[in-house]
Symmetry: C2
Subunit: 299 residues, 2 copies
DNA sequence: GTGAAAGCGCTAACAA
DNA sequence: TTGTTAGCGCTTTCAC
């Protein structure tokens, strides 16, 4: 150790990797960082990974098919010890058919078939709980904000399913006019979708936004239209990003168990890396969700 | 190419790096990702780096001295082709004295001495412009939010200097009661600092928050206290994060030229990597800032 | 023009 | 226990 310090010796990681066949890196593929949900997820993953002496390399997909494919096929991904992939642009099945040597764990979406492990959240049940919360508060004309008609089995579809299930259970007849899509899943998208609802004269007394930023955007539009969030319109989001604590009013939401997703995903990946070769059965893990009541649904 | 496709050949990056002495990776050292400013900066850097065929590896320092040192001394940093370092915990001078073989460009803070290149923003001038904007709107009792008494030459000190310069130029006598510190530079910190100001009965008609999240937190506290942002209290932030466009009211701010900082920093680093060996004189580059007027200072 | 070979720095296996 | 060596896959040099 004295000699190391004196000579300033640093091991050459390339040489070590070449020899050992391990790089000590895992790739985290997410659409973007600007979205607080993914920034927080990335931090959680990095923390969990460092607990296993792994460095996390973030690759941004932009949610685009082409870039997802390019990254999956890149030498960098192949050289990594493993990868966590938040699928967005690719079809669930396509990923399964890809021939990737690197251990790959999918995150956050429900994938019907495919050989890959999956760590995800209880989208349907959580969305149902969110909607039920609004119904319990006496709301009946609930806008579902963030529908994505072209989507296959992504979070939008699943959350819509939960929304419909809650309405059904409560005996509320759904109105397709209150199921609205958003061009993008950000504040802007939520805001303008909500504006459309108001402009079209659609009646509503609550909004279930499929994620928090959509909800925050919607809250702003609702307020700008002279309505009171909570008194006139109850709003609940999904994700539990930090921002939801700091809006006016604070926004009720679903904590989908993001931290747990990050931890579980890294653990499964580490197991796969250790046991690569053996192929046990595919794992499908679900994090626990939690309803978080704040001012926006307080009445 | 046909053979590559058929055999599924992927170059082994470790071997390539060992031979070439280049890893194609640069390390970006920032305190956190939860803070939108850094998330957006990270995206900008990753984009700029990919333009030079470089992969960005993010390392989180938490703004802590110890972790900054640990990362700087880590084999990973040494194996990278270069690094961008947003200094926070370490003293400006210490970084200069460190013996790092990897080309290192400092980001975002003013460093008095030291051999390293620096790409930063015009903190003093921009802060002065923000304060002047409030004065131009007829405000005189302006709270400076985010002071950090123990800090040396970080952004807090510089922005405070700009604030004082603007007051001085307008002939407004500064009141130290209106220079308030924040425990942390996030919404919570801004919110509770503002609460303290209100509880202490300090009079004010405007707030210059040293960054956007402090400003957003302050806006919420001000509103919860029954005051109107813009009519009773004008608020301006610093950073121009996406959120400032989506608050109620939208928040005026300073765009410090973050995108330009990212581009310049990567360019300087790439030059340093290419020319390592030769040591030209230290570069110190400043991005252009821009005042962005929104509702929170509209009156 | 094509082909062969040395060696980057490390680790694991083996020899002493 | 301590010391020696082969070889990971690539690139660059050198020989042909």
């Amino acid at each position: 150790m004295a000699a190391i310090a004196e000579l300033g010796y640093r091991p050459n990681l390339s040489a070590r990797s070449l020899r050992s066949g391990r790089t000590g890196e895992i790739v985290l593929m997410i659409p973007e960082l600007r979205n607080a949900y993914f920034a927080e997820l990335a931090e959680d993953v990095m923390l969990a990974a460092s607990g296993h002496a792994l460095t996390t390399v973030i690759e941004l997909t932009g949610g685009e098919r082409e870039r997802e494919l390019a990254i999956l096929n890149s030498p960098r991904l192949q050289s990594a010890d493993g990868a966590l992939f938040n699928v967005l642009g690719l079809d669930a099945r396509e990923v399964g058919q890809l021939n990737i040597a690197t251990p790959l764990v999918l995150l956050g979406e429900h994938v019907i078939e495919g050989p890959h492990d999956l760590v995800t959240m209880r989208n349907v049940e959580a969305a149902k709980a969110a909607t039920k919360h609004l119904i319990d508060k006496g709301r009946r004309r609930i806008v579902a904000l963030g529908a994505a008609p072209n989507e296959d089995m992504g979070s939008s579809t699943l959350r819509l399913r939960g929304y419909l299930a809650a309405l059904d259970e409560a005996g509320v007849v759904p109105d397709s006019a209150r199921v609205v899509s958003a061009s993008t899943w950000d504040r802007r998208g939520g805001g303008s979708a909500m504006q459309r609802v108001i402009d079209d004269g659609i009646e509503f007394d609550a909004v279930f936004a499929f994620n928090d930023v959509l909800g925050l955007g919607a809250m702003k539009t609702v307020q700008d239209a002279g309505l009171s969030v909570s008194r006139d319109v109850a709003v609940i989001g999904f994700d539990d990003i930090d921002d939801a604590t700091w809006s006016s009013p604070t926004m009720s939401t679903i904590d989908p168990g993001r931290l747990q997703v990050a931890k579980l995903a890294v653990e499964v990946l580490v197991e796969r890396i250790a046991d690569s070769g053996n192929d046990w059965s595919r794992k499908e893990l679900y994090a626990d969700f939690r309803l978080i009541e704040r001012e926006s649904t307080a009445r």
